[in-house]
């Protein structure tokens, strides 16, 4: 085809679902009303950890208007998002693990009746020891919250070594050690989870749900209810925000699905805000320790990271989250030797899981603050330090992540220029400060949740004689604009307008599989699949048109709803005629495209978490003011530059950047998923402190600063039209940049989030008393780490496998089983140290 400049791609456009949304016509799950529909409410545990001795639902069942009461006995089969953590039951069988764990369900004519009936269910509990924080779970191995996991109440514990960090520390001019804490937070989508289940006229199950992952829900429902998967249809309704909080299969979905099948009536559930806090799957609270060796010029010789994750009561994505706290440190800066140790424990709180940035914001926070400290000790400007150590493009990192293009240096240059960094950093009056931090993120997880070799995303196109095109894809619109990306890619290739295309998405009966809206994978994977499908359609049309107008196929241009001769634009046909010509020549026109990520270079156990087709990069500068007498903190401005590869629709990209800054400031300054224990002599209670939108503090529009966004566009050949992700990456640098700015403003280090006035004032008090001017955790507990898997980095002759892995046969969710290349029986082996790569 003749080259043309882009017509749709790269142009700021109103998103394709924009009109429906602003006019209130988008149908969210709770907007669905079906004839004969009944309503479900869940009775939730009032104890944090207990054995369920007896449930008597007879009074509830007798309540007028109640159709059905279900308990754990109705749901014997467990499920869970990861194959290695099938630890959830839709309703508790014999154990409740946190306040809010569902124990029974009432289905009644309306919500109020169901609510009233909940109070008529008598549950007898036998309380068990409660684990409120990770250190308790580390010290007490019984009672076990689950009967699986690496030991006692430890869910997952890992140790990975890439080269000899101890030698690297010995070779360093300075070694820095810091402990940080990152508080947990929740997603807080405006739309509360809602779902409707029905038995369709053929007797098959249909579930409409505000889910980010219809494909995984499809699999979980089929398993948990023992229904053939072909008889289950999951339709993802547009999500009113997800941010990772709607990526697991949820108990309420399983419950209403079964209820609808039993009653043969549609059943709806719409969770309350409190219940959304109980679904959680949000940011893990993480305690972490960073030890970094540096040369006088800032070059890093080695890094040792330890993380302790408070997992809450269930597995969820926790195994992946654990690895993610150690995966991406090497992707931003060159780190020649690396040691990562991570441990996730169970506690009696709502389960943590993936929230925007999944597992990486916590350690990014530690790493970027420590770099600020390093820069100060080395008398280097922190922006300059980062520029010196930025990882190089087309590299394989110490932990075998293959990096494509890197726009990080450009991000740093753009953001420092925009913010006039050189005349503000360390130069503002007392109480005013600026701070910088950087980050990177995946453009899609390289491996699926369950092991398979199939594509991660598929797109199907149907071309109509009218010139209209329908694009089918399993991807889910969660507000991020995935429908718009799908349509834009197809429109660009076929030379038609986005409005000519209808997107049909997120329906397991109608659309080819896309794994879901998580890990920033949709634009890259669905986009590539869409391009492939559209190019195949274009080829068919081109062939038919070429023979009709007698022009060589490769001279044809598809643009402006026409197919024409590049050398003689007047010669051509309308797009609709092109479809008719092609249909005449080939029969009905439909094409497919699919995308499978490249194979990962990491073959060691745990190497399944971190690989991605390409990585996005961001740099942020935050300005703060701090009142010295109260610690009051205000953020007037944020500058952020993001390496997007190519902005498919700049309006959407900026929206994602600003949304990320917004969410990041919430985590940096106020959000806390915290719990309250009552005096033990009086009560067993361990409750969420404030499961409400009023008292769980998240910024309002009034609290939002000016955001100055710079887009760095260096197209990456792995992305559709060169695009990378933007949904998660720009969140990451903001929290550490705030902490660094506070230090610039007032000379105290706040080594944890949220950074509140109280903590600032405590640090200022410490400073005034001549103590370390800092607020943050003082120690990292002693943990019995397992033997470290030794994986020599590429520059030490490694091939991505561990030299001492004898347990390689133990399956891990996100990894390929066939990859255990290390010879069985080979013990820990010494290997030559080659030293850091020359730069």
């Amino acid at each position: 085809m003749a080259a043309t400049s882009f017509k749709t791609i790269g142009k700021p456009r109103r998103r394709v679902d924009g009109r429906a949304k602003v006019t209130g016509q988008t149908k969210f799950a709770d907007d669905l009303m079906l004839p004969r529909m009944v309503h479900c409410k869940l009775l939730r545990s009032t104890l944090p950890h207990a054995r369920v001795v007896r449930i008597d639902a007879s009074r509830a069942l007798a309540h007028p208007g109640v159709h059905l009461v279900m308990t754990g006995r109705d749901f014997p089969i467990p499920y869970g998002i990861l194959p290695v953590s099938q630890d959830e039951h839709a309703l508790a069988i014999d154990r409740v693990r946190f306040v809010g764990d569902p124990v029974a369900a009432v289905i009644a004519r309306d919500e109020l009746t169901a609510f009233d009936a909940l109070d008529l269910i008598d549950v007898e509990y036998e309380p068990l020891r409660t684990f409120a924080d990770p250190e308790e779970s580390l010290t007490h191995s019984t009672p076990r919250i689950h009967d699986y996991g690496d030991a006692g109440n430890i869910h997952k514990i890992v140790s990975l070594g890439f080269g000899d960090v101890e030698q690297a520390f010995a070779d360093a001019d300075h070694v820095f050690e810091d402990t940080f804490f990152y508080q947990g937070s929740t997603h807080l989508p405006i739309e509360q989870h809602a779902a409707v289940a029905a038995k369709d006229p053929d007797g098959k199950l249909v579930l409409w749900s505000s889910t980010q992952t219809p494909h995984y829900v499809h699999r979980a429902l089929a398993k948990a209810l023992a229904i053939p998967a072909a008889h289950v249809r999951v339709i993802a309704t547009p999500n009113g925000g997800g941010f990772g909080g709607k990526s697991d299969p949820f108990n309420h979905e399983v419950v209403i699905a079964k209820a609808a099948m039993l009653l043969d009536r549609p059943v709806k559930i719409c969770l309350t805000r409190e219940e959304v806090f109980y679904c959680h799957r949000g940011r893990h609270p993480v305690l972490m320790h960073f030890k970094t060796g540096v040369k006088r010029d800032g070059t890093i010789t080695g890094l040792h990271v330890k993380t302790l994750l408070d997992g809450g009561a269930y597995g969820s994505y926790g195994v992946a989250s654990t690895f993610y706290t150690g995966a991406l440190q090497t992707v931003t800066y060159h780190i020649p030797t690396y040691h990562f140790q991570g441990c996730r424990v169970f506690t009696n709180k709502p389960p943590c899981g993936p929230k925007r940035g999944h597992g990486t914001p916590q350690s990014r926070f530690g790493q970027e603050i420590q770099l600020d400290k390093i820069a100060e000790t080395l008398s280097l400007d922190p922006a300059e330090l980062r520029l010196r150590i930025v990882e190089r493009p087309d590299t394989l990192t110490a932990n075998y992540l293959r990096i494509g293009t890197i726009g990080l240096a450009e991000c740093i240059r753009r953001v420092t220029h925009a913010a006039d960094w050189s005349s503000t950093y360390r130069k503002l009056p007392p109480g005013h400060g600026v701070g910088i931090a950087c980050s990177s993120y995946l453009s899609g997880a390289g491996l699926p949740i369950y092991w398979n070799d199939m594509p991660h995303s598929g797109v199907q196109l149907k071309l109509d004689r009218s010139g209209g095109v329908t694009a089918f894809c399993g991807a889910t619109e969660i507000g991020q604009g995935s429908d718009d990306v799908l349509v834009a890619c197809v429109a660009e290739i076929l030379g038609i307008d986005p409005i000519d295309i209808r997107a049909v998405t997120g329906d397991t009966d109608l659309t080819p599989v896309d794994l879901g809206s998580y890990s920033s994978r949709v634009t890259l994977m669905m986009g590539n699949a869409a391009i492939q499908a559209a190019e195949r359609a274009r080829d068919l049309l081109a062939e038919a048109v070429a023979s009709k107008i007698n022009v060589p196929k490769d001279r044809l241009v598809f643009a402006e709803r026409r197919v024409f001769d590049a050398e003689n634009p007047a010669t051509g046909v309308a797009f609709s005629d092109a479809v008719c010509l092609a249909e005449t020549m080939f029969g009905t026109i439909g094409t497919t495209g699919s995308y499978t990520p490249p194979r990962s270079a990491a073959k060691f156990k745990g190497g399944g978490v971190g690989p991605s087709p390409t990585y996005s990069y961001s740099a942020a500068i935050v300005e703060v003011t701090v009142e010295p007498s109260t610690g009051w903190i205000d953020v007037p401005r944020v500058w952020i530059a993001h390496d997007i590869g190519r902005a498919l629709n700049p309006t959407l990209v900026r929206g994602q950047v600003e949304g990320s800054v917004y969410m990041a400031l919430g985590e940096a300054l106020m959000e806390e998923q915290t719990f309250r224990r009552l005096p033990p002599r009086l009560s067993h209670a361990l409750v969420h402190k404030f499961p409400s939108m009023l008292e769980y503090k998240s910024p309002t529009t009034m609290d939002m600063p000016d955001v100055i966004t710079e887009l760095v566009e260096a197209p990456d050949p792995r992305g559709p039209f060169g695009a990378k992700e933007v949904g998660q990456g720009p969140l990451l640098p903001v929290m550490p940049a705030v902490a660094n700015a506070v230090y610039d403003a007032i000379g105290v280090r706040i080594d944890e989030v949220p950074i509140t006035p109280e903590k600032i004032l405590k640090a200022l008090d410490a400073k005034a008393a001549g103590k370390t001017p800092r607020y943050g955790p003082s120690r990292f507990p002693d943990i019995a780490w397992p033997e470290t898997l030794q994986v020599p980095p590429p520059w030490e002759g490694g091939d991505g496998t561990a030299v001492n892995d004898q347990r390689r046969s133990v399956p891990d969710t996100r990894e390929r089983h066939g990859a255990s290349a290390s010879a069985p029986g080979v013990g820990p082996r010494r290997y030559e140290k080659v030293g850091p790569r020359e730069r």
């Binding site: 009032t46 003011t625 009142e627 109260t630 106020m670 503090k697 009034m702 609290d703 109280e758």
Partner: protein, 366 residues
Amino acid sequence: MMRLPYFRYHAPRTVAEAADLLSKGDAMIVAGGTDLLPNMKRRQQVPGTLVGLRNIAELRGISNGDPSTKLRVAPSLSRGDGLMIGAGVTLTELVRDVRLRQGYGGQAPVTGPYAGLWQAARQVATPQLRNMGTIGGNLCLDTRCNYYDQNYEWRKAIDFCMKKDGETCWVATSSPKCLAVSSTDTAPALVSLGAGVTLASATGTRHLPLADLYQNDGIHYLTRRPDEILTAVHLPRLDGWRSTYWKLRRRGAFDFPVLGVACALKLDRSGTVEAARIVLGAVASRPLESSNGAAALVGHALTDEAIAHAADAAAQPARPMDNTDYTLHWRKRVTRDFVTYALRELRGDDTRELRRRVARQELLTM
């Protein structure tokens, strides 16, 4: 979603009719419903009957204290013409009324004596809630506590508390009384302005200083009888006074106060304080007037030193508890700073930048 329990609803057109309905018991008043309805969804209050005030025209006006108006207050309080505000006036209406910003005549070009009330009303909740919420409802607002403002299931998990359905006060387990927090923004401002209120019931009407409407008990926080309707708020004429309100909350909208500082001062020509009132909100179960703080100012010019003395004295009686946002130690500690901000603003300092950072919005300045 959370659902309301069943209740009967009446929408009378006169105060007399409403009073009659209330005299029958098991009934509560609903004005804008922004406090009561969420509470009912959480089953904190479950009245069998609601008496709505929205159709009662006589509760909905703001007037210049004309004695012929139905919004009559005790002559001893009225002292000529100030402002009469019907209890059913919404906070949005109040904030839009130019007399509140500029003084009763509405013609003065500068900020009037009621600026503190304007600032307080302007910072209540969110625009949407102010469109519905009334001044009467704001003054009668239920006291708040993190152990109490939770839904039914959550409270069940802590076995409830003394204020509703339980026995223990979880904030202070040995406390004989509930320590829930007075969280109204307008009450401290109005008390600082010496406002009075009228209460009407089937058995008659009474007038009392607003300060006397409150008592320091988280459960029985009002001296109002359940059958009484607050019909009007009266603001005395305040020539030569200036007032301000500083609110501490985490965010620039939405949040209830965790500290409110209302100050009103009368200065003579030379700048000496002739009279002063300092009232703190959200540090007890009622608005807390600090006569020591005020006394420290009277007879002095507003020097840094005088302000520091007054701020120390005013902050001293604040007893924040661990039942709102922010740690109690910090709230206690910054009380002093907030009183200082208020007094500096009344002195005429340019506090706009500070105000923007604290309130995250522009508000009136002197």
